[in-house]
């Protein structure tokens, strides 16, 4: 078990390094370059044509961007291993500080998206499986099919239109830290959480429903009925644990979906979180910030998948790590 986890961590690190390489290359493929952006900030005029080509090149050399990409990468990654995430060009602050400010916010709404998406989906899925064929099952399954395909940002805009603009129930956009004013913060996170969680509920409900239906037809569930057990006991003791095996596997994917969704939704709702930081950084050619965010997102996804694989062994006694 320990050997398995260590091996998985090493593989995870390796994948993470590949991800950073890819992101490192991709940001440098963007048309334009950070010096222009940086100079615009530096002069404070907001205009980009104040530099002479000589000044531009001098700055490029100063930032080390004239060197070959592998050299730049080595420079960056060796700093990462020393715990230094670098400095943002855009706001001239250590990236570690920027991330420390925004990560808790994304973690907070991400937590709610995950909880609502997972448990909502489980409840809907289990209900539909037990009452399969009823009109409510058909309705919920249809909504789930639609919910899976709806783009997060479009849903977000739609929710703002109806619930904020038309009905005025929630603020249109913005953010209040829950540790500053919990109740006020709740009204701000309802819509963004709903936009992302709906897709999560839909996917989870579909998967749970089909897994439950599959398990219901198995011989061991028939055995459980033949024992004279009550339906509730059969569902909870005999069906749920078996049905949860594939469902738990999908949780890693759900988390990745939520992180991906947060990039969009934080932009739609102007939430100063990780997703917003990353999007802004991309528009600003803030290479270091993009790289650092990708590193953190990648790390979360890779290690949550590892956690899922370990949870598997706890659910299914047939699994042995070796």
């Amino acid at each position: 078990m320990t050997a398995y986890i260590i091996r998985r961590i090493i593989i995870g690190m390796f994948i993470l390094i590949l991800v950073t390489m890819l992101v490192f290359l991709l940001v440098r493929l963007l048309p334009g370059d950070p010096v222009m952006r940086y100079m615009a900030n530096f002069t404070g005029t907001g205009q980009q044509n104040v530099m002479t080509p000589e000044q531009h090149d001098a700055m490029l050399i100063k930032l080390g961007l004239d060197r070959p990409i592998p050299v730049q990468y080595w420079d960056w990654i060796s700093k990462i291993f020393r715990g230094d995430l670098g400095e943002s060009l855009g706001v001239q602050q250590p990236i570690s500080k920027l991330i420390a400010d925004v990560l808790p916010r994304t973690a907070y709404i991400g937590f709610w998206m995950f909880v609502v998406g997972t448990f909502g989906g489980l409840l809907v899925g289990i209900y539909c499986a037990l009452r399969r064929g009823t009109w409510l099952d058909n309705t919920l399954t249809t909504i789930a099919n639609i919910g899976m395909t709806v783009p997060v940002f479009w849903l977000g805009i739609l929710l703002i239109y109806f619930f904020s603009f038309k009905l005025g129930w929630f603020p249109m956009y913005g953010w209040v830290n829950p540790w500053d004013d919990f109740w006020r913060s709740c009204s701000y996170i309802v819509l963004p959480v709903a936009s992302v969680a709906l897709g999560g509920i839909a996917g989870m409900a579909r998967l749970t429903r089909s897994c439950m239906l599959e398990v219901m037809r198995t011989d061991y569930v028939r055995t459980a009925w033949a024992k004279g057990l009550r339906e509730r006991v059969i569902v909870v003791r005999h069906q749920l644990k078996n049905a949860m095996i594939p469902v738990v596997t999908s949780l890693g994917g759900t988390l990745a979906m939520i992180l991906g969704g947060s990039v969009f939704i934080e932009t739609v709702f102007s939430i100063p979180g990780m997703g917003r930081l990353m999007t802004t950084a991309i528009f600003d050619y803030d290479y270091q910030v993009v790289q650092a965010s990708a590193l953190i997102f990648g790390g979360i996804v890779i290690f949550s998948n590892l956690a899922v694989d370990i949870a598997w062994g706890w659910l299914d006694p047939r699994i042995r790590y070796g």
Binding site: D219, Y220, T223, W225, A226, L229, H238, K241, N242, P317
Partner: protein, 328 residues
């Protein structure tokens, strides 16, 4: 009086191709401490009949539409399939052993949990007592090192051992009748013999009745006291084991016995004669005898009259056939 009396049980399945009369007026009874064989080809309605008695027919598509199942003076068909009265009987007084030991046990629960749950439910035992009883049951069915093996999961057991666990489960609440649905079909021949001996031994010792459902004539020949032969959803012949094997009276039973080799028979002295043709498709069957197209003994009456009811042809020996082939 019989311990379990099944009268004219009718279970139909509504399929998209039409109505399937999977069990059509199935009548049989089980006496106390008796071993009974329910024999027939695959799909003839053996399993459906006993699942109907247990009220375990999935609905939809299945439905038990008629008949009576009298057990302890009560008609089980009057109960809700998953109602309280039925659940109290199922798993305690009437129990089942299923065909597939590999898939009939829950893979994520320990053997201990699966054995103790019936004990806790029906006998109201506490956890400790149930566990001790479960270990005792495992010893009884011949699982070696029971106190240690009880905490294992089903995948750590072999097929034969799993079927022993199933037997232990079926025996756990001292049932009146055990239904064994093809209990040994999925295990190899040596294990088959061991399991059957074990079951016979246990039910005799505990004075429990056993209904063995099988397509294997050899199994019932050795163990069953009385035999019911089924064809296309109906019982077509019933009687004491020695009568069925010694003096079969229905053309189908005769055909079955002619098509199997017998132990001790000298090679080449008797030709095995197959029953030509295929069992009928059960969807929208004609009124006449379902065996008619394959029958070698048919007479004019068979083509015109509907499938006959069971009639007595000897002491406790019944057939549903117009032809009397006693002389042959």
């Amino acid at each position: 009086m019989a311990l379990l009396d099944v009268q004219e049980l009718q279970t139909y399945f509504h399929t998209e191709y039409g109505l399937v009369k999977a069990a059509d007026k199935v009548t049989f009874h089980v006496n106390e401490g008796e071993i009974i064989g329910l024999v027939g080809e695959s799909g003839c309605g053996k399993s459906v009949s006993i699942l109907s008695v247990m009220r375990l027919i999935p609905s939809p598509p299945g439905e038990t539409v008629g008949g009576k199942v009298i057990f302890e003076g009560k008609d089980l068909l009057k109960y809700q399939p998953n109602g309280r009265e039925m659940r109290a009987i199922r798993g305690s007084k009437l129990t089942m052993i299923f065909q597939e030991p590999m898939t009939s046990l829950n893979p994520v629960l320990t053997v201990s949990r699966q054995l103790t749950e019936t004990l806790e439910l029906h006998l109201d035992m506490d956890k400790r007592a149930a566990r001790e009883r479960a270990i005792e049951l495992l010893r009884m069915v011949g699982v070696p090192d029971a106190p240690r093996r009880i905490d294992d999961y089903p995948h750590q057991f072999s097929g034969g051992m799993r079927q022993r666990v199933m037997i232990a489960m079926a025996l756990s609440c001292n049932p009146a009748v055990i239904f064994a649905d093809e209990p040994t079909t999925a295990v190899d021949v040596t294990t088959q013999a061991q399991l059957l001996e074990l079951m016979k031994d246990l039910v005799t010792r505990l004075n429990t009745s056993l209904v063995i459902v099988t397509h294997n004539l050899g199994v019932v020949a050795r163990y069953a006291e009385r035999i019911y032969v089924m064809y296309a959803g109906r019982i077509i012949e019933s009687g004491r084991s020695e009568d069925i094997f010694g003096h079969p009276r229905h053309p189908y039973t005769v055909g079955l016995l002619n098509s199997v080799p017998r132990l001790g028979e000298r090679h080449g002295t008797r030709k095995l004669i197959p029953i030509y043709g295929l069992p009928p498709n059960l969807i929208n069957m004609p009124q006449t005898c379902a065996f008619l197209p394959r029958c070698t003994e048919k007479i004019g009456k068979c083509e015109k009259e509907p499938w006959p009811e069971l009639r007595a042809v000897g002491d406790d020996h019944y057939i549903s056939c117009y032809v009397d082939i006693k002389g042959k």
